[in-house]
């Protein structure tokens, strides 16, 4: 957890540097996909902080993604907010929703926690449909071009969009690395590993888990807001169960409890779906096959396995 000295920082900064250059050697189409992957990876990083590090297996993170998306998209739509304030509102929306969810759902644990979070997320989705005149329901709405400008840059064009996505991704990645190497990060892992012992060391499990879930919500909110502002669309489909499962798959594939796992998982899964849909309409078959292979050969995910076998210092 604390080992490795400066190597983890160097590795993370190197990844960010490589991604910065990617816009020059990738086609615009692939660069836009990479921007999308980076935003989804921010969502998965948030999921990883709750699930991978603190041991909170949530099935309701779509609610937090949608909270950020609508908290950013609705003020832009209704009152013409600019991208900066809308993004901040989105981050706050995700965090507040997570705190409210946690206050109720963290009275449960394990399977009950999964069911309760799933239930709240479904209630959130139905609420979005119910208020369709405002939220646009399943059809959603397009974010006005005027709200997609930041400091004079048009976020709907390739380079500003890519750089904005990279900026949010880099901030999320470095903050998560700093967090898990901090004393609080150690406390989160302690909660995952042995809650009763943590309690008898003076930690209140409820407040630790509530804090972790809220941080997870801030990440999810940032991802939802970024998606709305960079790709210009807000819709209730992002509140469906599918978007609660996706970050879990990314994290499991990349490696739960590894800082780079969420990005790697999002990258591999996105690419796999992209290639598979080009071949067949039954692309979910490939996703399923990949997951079966994962469970059989690398149950700790790609980076979890690499850490266990070869690179012990990997955070």
């Amino acid at each position: 957890m604390t080992g490795g000295g400066v190597k983890p920082w160097a590795l993370h900064l190197a990844l960010i540097a490589v991604l910065l250059t990617a816009q020059f050697w990738l086609s615009p189409y692939h660069a836009t996909n990479l921007a999308r992957i980076m935003v989804l990876a921010v969502f998965a990083m948030g999921y990883n902080l709750a699930f991978g590090y603190t041991g909170l297996l949530s099935l309701g993170h779509a609610l937090l993604l949608a909270a950020g998306m609508y908290a950013a998209g609705l003020p832009a739509q209704l009152w013409g907010w600019g991208a900066g304030p809308a993004f901040i509102a989105g981050v706050a929306g995700g965090g507040l929703m997570a705190a409210a969810l946690g206050l109720l759902a963290l009275r449960t644990a394990g399977v009950s926690f999964m069911i309760v979070t799933l239930m709240f997320a479904q209630a959130g989705y139905l609420t979005l449909l119910y208020f369709a005149p405002v939220t646009g329901g399943d059809d959603g709405f397009a974010v006005a071009a005027a709200s997609r400008r930041l400091l004079g840059f048009d976020l709907s064009t390739d380079t500003p969009r890519f750089l904005a996505a990279l900026l949010i991704f880099a901030a999320g990645l470095l903050i998560s690395l700093a967090l898990i190497r901090s004393p609080f990060g150690r406390t989160m892992v302690a909660m995952r590993e042995n809650e009763e012992r943590s309690r008898m060391l003076g930690y209140n499990p409820f407040t630790v888990k509530l804090a972790a879930l809220t941080i997870s919500g801030l990440y999810s909110g940032a991802a939802g807001a970024a998606y709305a502002l960079l790709f210009g669309y807000v819709g209730a489909s992002f509140a469906t169960i599918q978007y609660s499962i996706l970050p879990m798959l990314y994290v499991l594939l990349g490696g739960a409890g590894t800082t780079l796992g969420p990005f790697l998982g999002a990258l591999v899964m996105f690419t796999l779906i992209e290639v598979a849909t080009g071949l067949t309409s039954a692309y979910l078959f490939f996703v399923g096959a990949a997951l079966v292979a994962l469970v059989l050969f690398a149950p700790k995910g790609i980076l979890g396995t690499i850490r266990e076998r070869w690179v012990r210092w990997l955070p």
Binding site: M1, T2, G3, P183, R186, T187, V189, A190, E193, N194, E196, R197, S198, R199, M200, L201, G202, Y203, N204, P205
Partner: protein, 234 residues
């Protein structure tokens, strides 16, 4: 001298089983107090009530005169009551350092590195910092458990059968270690090994069927006919 921990009429029944039944008990500051009694006498349940792992049905618990009967376990730890588990409870997949650092940082200590190393050195686990806790031998895991308790810098350290499963040589150094803790830390010890009890304890309380059978110095306890009948003589 005022008692550091005092209980009055402390009671917890499991259905018809009177695990702890109206226990009046006083732990004096700076002593090593042993809690003995036959299996099922309610020793572990009693210290669970003290540490807050279980809540009493009736009676009161005072810490330095303050009523802590309804306080949750984590809050009692912060007030200075540390509990080490009968069945070793560590963080097996974390390093030895992280296990102890978790105890140190819960006190809000600044000098995390120094205090963690000091606690490890005190139990003789220095040099094993980077090991995963699950890779330690059983005896070392018991010592790690103790180091976590010490790192909490407690006023009262509750040791639940600390020598269980230790080799004879390990028990000797354990006894010396516990002796070095008082009088800064007050020790409440559940122990089956009578040699350890007689060697260490300044006072002994005997529990039987959830009630206090006798309480006194080791020689008083040895001479007590009721204790001999219920326990020692058996």
């Amino acid at each position: 001298m005022a008692a550091l921990i005092e209980t009055r009429g402390l009671t917890l029944h499991f259905g018809g089983l009177k695990a702890v039944d109206g226990v009046d008990f006083a732990l004096q500051s700076g002593e090593i107090h042993a809690l003995i009694g036959p299996n099922g006498a309610g020793k572990t349940t009693f210290v669970s009530l003290l540490s807050g792992r279980r809540m009493a049905q009736s009676g009161t618990i005072l810490l330095d005169g303050e009523d802590i009967t309804r306080l949750p376990a984590h809050a009692r730890v912060r007030k200075g009551i540390a509990y080490t588990f009968q069945i070793t409870s560590i963080f097996p997949r974390l390093t030895v350092f992280d296990n102890v650092a978790l105890a140190v940082q819960s006190q809000g200590a600044r000098d995390l590195l120094d205090r963690t190393r000091a606690a490890l050195a005190r139990v003789g686990l220095e040099g094993l910092e980077a090991q995963e806790a699950q890779a330690l031998s059983y005896g070392h895991q018991r010592l790690l458990e103790l180091a976590m308790g010490l790192a909490l810098n407690p006023r009262v350290l509750i040791l639940d059968e600390p020598t269980q499963g230790l080799a004879a040589s390990e028990i000797d150094s354990f006894i010396r270690l516990v002796e070095s803790l008082v009088p800064e830390t007050t020790v409440l010890l559940i122990e089956h090994n009578m040699e350890v009890v007689m060697d260490l304890a300044t006072r002994i309380t005997v529990l039987n069927f959830g009630q206090v059978l006798a309480s006194g110095t080791p020689s008083e306890i040895r001479a007590d006919p009721a204790v001999q009948e219920a326990y020692l003589g058996a």
